[in-house]
């Protein structure tokens, strides 16, 4: 753990066992050590899972006990935050947990329940105020309204651009699936879009939409301008098109040719073939495309903060300007959590979409 006189200066490290009275830190340290030991043997994934959970509990305990003890009498502006040792342990324990989960191969419903449990526990811990003395959460406390606003913006950017990309991408994907020539022209063009670096893309949007906003009557009234939400949104949509379209094409092409021939031979119209055969058989691949887009956009939306698009990126760039690490974390941590949670939920959906064929395959 580290303690600093205020939020700008670099902190000085404090070892875990010096955080507070031995009676207060000992259970936490013991839990972390026991958790690591339990987690090491490869043969028993359940034991490894339990160990990682125990270790995380120990880390939490240390944070809860250590922060108030350090702050006690350190002055009003003093900040406590976890230091490198904490982050390393957190990473190791989470890797152990992920590895145990991979070995245990829980079904989609079990994974859903697990995710809900983890999120619930997180909400409970944050809501209880037990960690409110940590510096990241102090930053949060002083920006509650801005944080709520940024969350809405971020979700709006990520999910909104996904929805728009899907609305355009699905029909385009279906058309490309049917006509090889259209496919030959569209996919390379979209790939080219994908290769534009994100900063350049956001930069390009500024003059482009600025010009549209100035020259098209009424455009400014609905929020189209060089900076702000609109250019960020549009950039994300453009980035999303390739994964949506190419996965739609790949998914629709995944149906076995004999099955399609049989469908035609029994008198299905092209539309019926699409809805009854090609789409359900391609759904896992199509959903995988949406998963890629969602996770990518949650991450890219951070950069939107740079051109005034709002979202968690606002905190990250403010933090970078002020070299305030806690502020950067306030933007980065929820972004990572959101991306992870979305990835897990989408993976569950992908699994649910294709149970029939996979059952015995």
């Amino acid at each position: 753990m580290s303690i600093a006189a205020n939020r700008i200066v670099a902190g000085e490290g404090v070892m875990a066992w010096h955080l507070a009275a031995p009676s207060a830190v000992l259970p936490g340290i013991a839990a972390v050590v026991a958790g690591l030991l339990l987690g090491l043997p490869r043969a028993w994934p359940r034991l490894r899972f339990a160990g990682s959970a125990l270790g995380l509990g120990g880390l939490l305990w240390l944070l809860m006990r250590g922060a108030p003890a350090l702050l006690d009498g350190a002055g009003d502006y003093a900040r406590v935050s976890p230091a490198i040792g904490f982050w390393c342990l957190l990473l190791v324990l989470m890797l152990l947990m992920a590895d145990a989960l991979v070995q245990m191969t829980p079904g989609p419903l079990a994974r859903g329940a697990l995710l809900a449990a983890v999120l619930g526990a997180l909400a409970l811990i944050l809501g209880s105020g037990a960690l409110s003395q940590l510096s990241v959460l102090q930053e949060f406390a002083s920006r509650k309204a801005a944080f709520a606003d940024a969350t809405l913006r971020h979700l709006g950017l990520a999910f909104g651009s996904l929805a728009v990309a899907a609305a355009f991408g699905f029909p385009l994907g279906i058309a490309c699936h049917r006509r090889a020539r259209l496919r030959g022209a569209t996919l390379p063009a979209l790939s080219l879009l994908q290769t534009i670096p994100s900063l350049a893309m956001f930069g390009l949007m500024i003059p482009l939409l600025g010009w549209v906003g100035d020259s098209v009557p009424g455009a400014q009234a609905i929020g189209i301008a060089g900076i702000g939400f609109a250019p960020a949104f549009l950039a994300l949509v453009l980035y999303s098109l390739l994964p949506v379209v190419s996965n739609t094409v790949a998914g629709l092409a995944a149906a076995p040719p004999e099955a399609l021939e049989a469908a035609r031979g029994m008198g299905m119209t092209p539309r019926q073939r699409l809805i009854r055969v090609e789409f359900p058989l391609g759904l896992p691949v199509i959903l995988t495309g949406l998963r890629i887009v969602l996770v990518q956009n949650i991450g890219l939306a951070v950069i939107a903060g740079l051109i005034g698009g709002g979202g968690y990126g606002t905190f990250v760039f403010q933090g970078l300007n002020q070299t305030a690490t806690d502020l950067i974390l306030l933007g980065a941590l929820p972004t990572v959590a959101l991306a992870l949670a979305s990835a897990i939920v989408m993976d569950i959906l992908v699994d649910l979409a294709g149970p029939a064929q996979r059952k015995s395959a």
Partner: protein, 311 residues
């Protein structure tokens, strides 16, 4: 009755099917046989308009197939292909019920029909209804494929090498099944194969194709006894011709009064079976039974004489 009239399909310079004219009577099995690339599949697919003919016409019960929209036409015609083409994401029941569903049959009627067909193919509905194709053996998948083609009781069934992917034993069983089911349902069947043995076993009529042309169209006995040219004779196989011919003739044709030693053969067995029995057990004649009672015998000499009639 299916009437095919001077039907032709060209791909560029290739005459895939070249002015084929042929009639199939209602309730019969016509087997189209030929080497690979001879145009069998193309001919079959022009009947349900999966391919549009370059010229010529097909009439079903006197009505041109051009009078109906292709997808509506196809819903009335059963279609089974090699490799079954089952929908991997549908259960057995939904696969079989696919065409009735397209035709908007009520649910209860579809369910009853699915169970009826599964029983017909000796598959217990309670056991198989809810399985997915990946959970069936190759033979079972193929039976479900044929059951699906039969589901809406089509008057006409088109089958393109339906047993091509099966191993010989399962294949023979599937052929027997098809004959039994055909007897029970009485629909008209057009079946494509490259296997002359299969054509002779299954066909009421056999149509031999080569390079897009119909070379010979007749009963299996005619094809074997009087091949129209060297190509057909080659397809039948010179060495095996007498045996193939004998396999078409039941013992009841040659049965005569008199006794013979050893186990009796049923009257429906073929002369080929009797010949094999004579050779294997060193007998000069075998007894013939009908409904459990011996009705006479068939002699080795009579079989030989019958095989010799055709030089």
């Amino acid at each position: 009755m299916i009437e095919i009239e001077r039907i032709t399909k060209t791909y560029g310079d290739v005459h895939a099917v070249d002015a084929v004219t042929m009639t199939a009577q209602t309730g019969t099995i016509t087997v189209i046989v030929g080497t690979s690339g001879s145009g069998k599949t193309t001919l079959l697919r022009m009947i349900n308009r999966l391919e549009e003919p370059t010229s010529g016409e097909v009439r079903i019960k006197g009505q041109s197939t051009l009078a109906t929209e292709p997808h509506l036409l196809r819903r009335r015609i059963g279609y089974a292909i090699q490799g079954h083409g089952l929908f991997p994401h549908y259960t057995v029941a939904r696969n079989i019920g696919a065409v009735p569903e397209l035709l908007n049959w009520p649910k209860a009627k579809i369910r009853a029909r699915v169970d009826e067909l599964l029983n017909l193919f000796s598959m217990d509905p309670a056991e198989f209804r809810h399985r997915y194709p990946a959970e069936l053996s190759g033979g079972q998948q193929q039976r479900v494929g044929v059951a699906r083609a039969l589901a809406s009781r089509p008057d006409l069934m088109l089958m393109d090498e339906p047993f091509g992917a099966l191993d010989p034993i399962i294949r023979a069983r599937a052929q027997d099944d098809l004959r039994r089911i055909h007897k029970a349902l009485g629909s008209t069947i057009m079946l494509v194969t490259h296997d002359m043995e299969e054509a002779i076993r299954l066909g009421d009529r056999v149509a031999v194709m080569d390079e897009g042309k119909l070379i010979q169209h007749g009963t299996p006995a005619e094809i074997i006894a009087q091949p129209a040219n060297g190509f057909v004779a080659d397809m039948v196989g010179d060495v095996e011709r007498p045996l193939r011919l004998l396999s078409l003739i039941p013992l009841s044709d040659l049965v005569e009064d008199g006794a013979a030693p050893g186990d009796a053969l049923p009257a429906e067995a073929s002369l080929r079976d009797a010949l094999a029995a004579c050779l294997w057990t060193g007998r000069n004649a075998v007894p013939v039974e009908h409904d459990g009672a011996v009705v006479g015998r068939v002699t080795f000499d009579a079989i030989r004489a019958r095989a010799q009639i055709h030089p």
